[in-house]
């Protein structure tokens, strides 16, 4: 039943995929610095995976640092009241 429905959907053209991949390529820090249009699909995908992983790691590290900073705020300082009113 459901497979018949999906067969009626418009076929995805190679051009569409190439376009999307080139957009992705623009975002990646590694490939952008080299000559454009030279990266293969698998290279773009690999760099995308690496980039997403590194962004995840950055979010994790920043959460760590923020947690440490918030816990070391001296409760009596004027700065603490600013942070407290803002975040806590």
């Amino acid at each position: 039943m459901s497979s018949r429905r999906s067969r009626e959907a418009p076929r995805i053209t190679d051009d569409q995929i190439i376009q999307l991949l080139s957009k992705l390529q623009q975002l990646l820090p590694e490939i952008r610095n080299r000559r454009s249009n030279k990266a293969s699909a698998s290279k773009v995908l690999q760099e995308t995976c690496n980039y997403v992983r590194s962004l995840h790691q950055e979010v994790d590290d920043l959460s760590d640092r923020l947690s440490q900073l918030l816990s070391t705020v001296d409760a009596n300082s004027p700065e603490a009241s600013i942070i407290q009113s803002l975040i806590m």
Binding site: I17, L20, S42, V59, L66, L69, L86
Partner: protein
């Protein structure tokens, strides 16, 4: 259609709200607990700032909802629940559909592979390239929330948007950390 300054504003608003909810409930948390809450509220804030316009954001919220403890945050940050309802169920049924398709494909593919073995060397290079692309697409699907149930074109579109949103998240978090560091 990615408006990053709009996303930034929404994200900052929601994240600060989330942090207030999390950090006010328990005064004395250990580092690990606080870090988890910070990260969680950042992720929920980012996903709900997308306002249910992308699959990855819906999938992220659906994943987070599995843990009942997170409901307070979700309800406060994402507003009307109806937008995200059903995303989890959709994925479960999608999974079943894809699994049965995969079994079918595998049984049909064996005959094709035997035919292919007899053809020329240039086809071998294409074969390897295709395999690499498939392998990498699989990995990407695991990294993007909700990626398992997406087809090849959708995963690339979602990955594009996901990367842009993650960048906003990292940028804002960096600024907050620097500002907090200066105040200390």
């Amino acid at each position: 259609m990615h408006n990053s300054s709009q996303l930034r504003k929404e994200f900052i608003k929601k994240w600060i709200h989330g942090l207030q909810i999390c950090c006010s409930s328990k005064k004395h948390m250990n580092l690990m607990e606080r870090k988890k809450k910070i990260k969680l509220s950042a992720d929920i804030a980012l996903a709900s700032a997308k306002n249910a316009t992308t699959s990855w954001s819906k999938a992220l919220i659906a994943d987070v909802k599995i843990d009942e403890e997170n409901m307070i945050l979700i309800n406060n940050l994402s507003g009307p629940e109806s937008k995200f309802v059903g995303a989890h169920d959709q994925r479960v049924t999608c999974h079943k559909r894809i699994r049965s398709k995969k079994i079918l494909k595998k049984s049909c593919g064996v005959g094709k592979r035997i035919k292919r073995m007899g053809s020329r060397r240039s086809d071998l290079a294409t074969c390897i390239a295709e395999r690499l692309v498939k392998k990498r697409t699989k990995v990407l699907k695991r990294l993007v929330p909700g990626g398992e149930s997406m087809d090849e074109v959708t995963i690339i579109k979602e990955a594009l948007d996901y990367i842009l949103s993650l960048r906003v998240q990292v940028d804002v978090m960096k600024n907050v950390v620097n500002a907090t560091g200066v105040l200390d």
